[in-house]
Symmetry: C2
Subunit: 274 residues, 2 copies
Amino acid sequence: VKQTRAVFFISDRTGITAEVLGHSLLSQFDSISFSEITIPFVDTLEKAQEAVKRINQLAIKSEARPVVLSTLVDPAISEVVASADALFLDCFRIFIAPLEQELATKSSHAVGRSHSARDAPVYRHRIDAVNYALAHDDGLKLAGLEQADVVLIGVSRCGKTPTCLYMALQFGIRAANYPLTQEDLSSTYLPTPITPYRDKLYGLTIDPMRLQQIRYERRPVGQYATIETCESEVKKAELLMQYEHIPYIDTTTKSIEELAVTILHQSKLTRRIY
Amino acid sequence: VKQTRAVFFISDRTGITAEVLGHSLLSQFDSISFSEITIPFVDTLEKAQEAVKRINQLAIKSEARPVVLSTLVDPAISEVVASADALFLDCFRIFIAPLEQELATKSSHAVGRSHSARDAPVYRHRIDAVNYALAHDDGLKLAGLEQADVVLIGVSRCGKTPTCLYMALQFGIRAANYPLTQEDLSSTYLPTPITPYRDKLYGLTIDPMRLQQIRYERRPVGQYATIETCESEVKKAELLMQYEHIPYIDTTTKSIEELAVTILHQSKLTRRIY
């Protein structure tokens, strides 16, 4: 039987920072089954006391005390949460002191500096990029491709749309995508509509067996989801990208984060937002 | 003149964890201008040495040594990066030791556990949720709303689409959205097509002045972007949501993360993915 542990992510804002860091730490402990609970918006002493109550109630019912990972900016609130019957790890306090010393300045201890909409240009970049990705999804709109930061190409269902949306939402990058159709693949030249944007192109490819599964779930009838079609399309698409010297990446075993960061990095693009 | 500092985010995978944590730490130091550089996929000793070279080159050119925030799982690679002429803060090592002690088990020190696609169910939840959000954006498709985790309602351009896409990509939540049109707003009852899903509804509202700006940028002609139309629509939408006891949130000063987390939390939904 696996050991189980409750883990609380506690934040004065969304809790996303604590979740992201915590989740990657916990993934290092395979033999334990974690039950994760996020308590966001803990920005008053009262809410901190409520959080402590929840933690302590669970501690009583559990074999082992919970783990608390927090990103609480206000030292008074942090101190309340630290009093819970748990292993308390504060991701903020631990780094703020060495940073204050190194930068020879005091931190502002201001709540809600990250993931806040107050920063209007960030919000605008993001919404613009999302609108751009939606308007230029699946080759929908070819006008305006000159404004793209990157144009993803690849066969139908190889992962273009979620990668574009991720880049838009998380990086503020204007990402368009263009599907390589059977007609496009009958040639070893780039399709005419995207030739002018050659320098912005980045290819996605995928294992034909995996592609077949994905397509079958979506449209099981006809030639679209047969293994022959998938093999032929993927092979032709890879040859086309090789002939035309378009960089490409295999999406089969990669997460959307890995795809997005790899493309960003190799295309020498810079995140517009954090 | 503001002090400027170079900050490196170094990771054996995407670097997203280090960026997210680092960015929220740095936002506490208003008086300093940071120049942020991410070096992802540092998964060999050679790449670690290259990273050190880049850091040291910048250190020579800068007034003050850089800051390095890393999430390097392999202690040997981490040790190489630690030798750079920089303030070295490892977000991993600092927490792994207390966690190992608390959990009475050794961590696996395995690279690439987080943000990796190897976890097939995570990938599938995510793609399903993104496809769902795209198919059920802007009231496009009413069939299948019974499968939604949440259905956002609100006037045109109040922030429904990016919030749904964020919830899909980051949380694996199936989020649909339905626009409240002028016709819908002529009544104080919920529009008929969404009445069966009353328990899944969550409203978005927005300051009419801000709405007017957003709409004007998109479609400056006609009644759509006038302040009168915006004021009238927002007022009617808020009244409708109040009469029908639909919870709602003002998007004007909130980031997409804040909106998504608040809706998740108040609708008592659980993230399907991390």
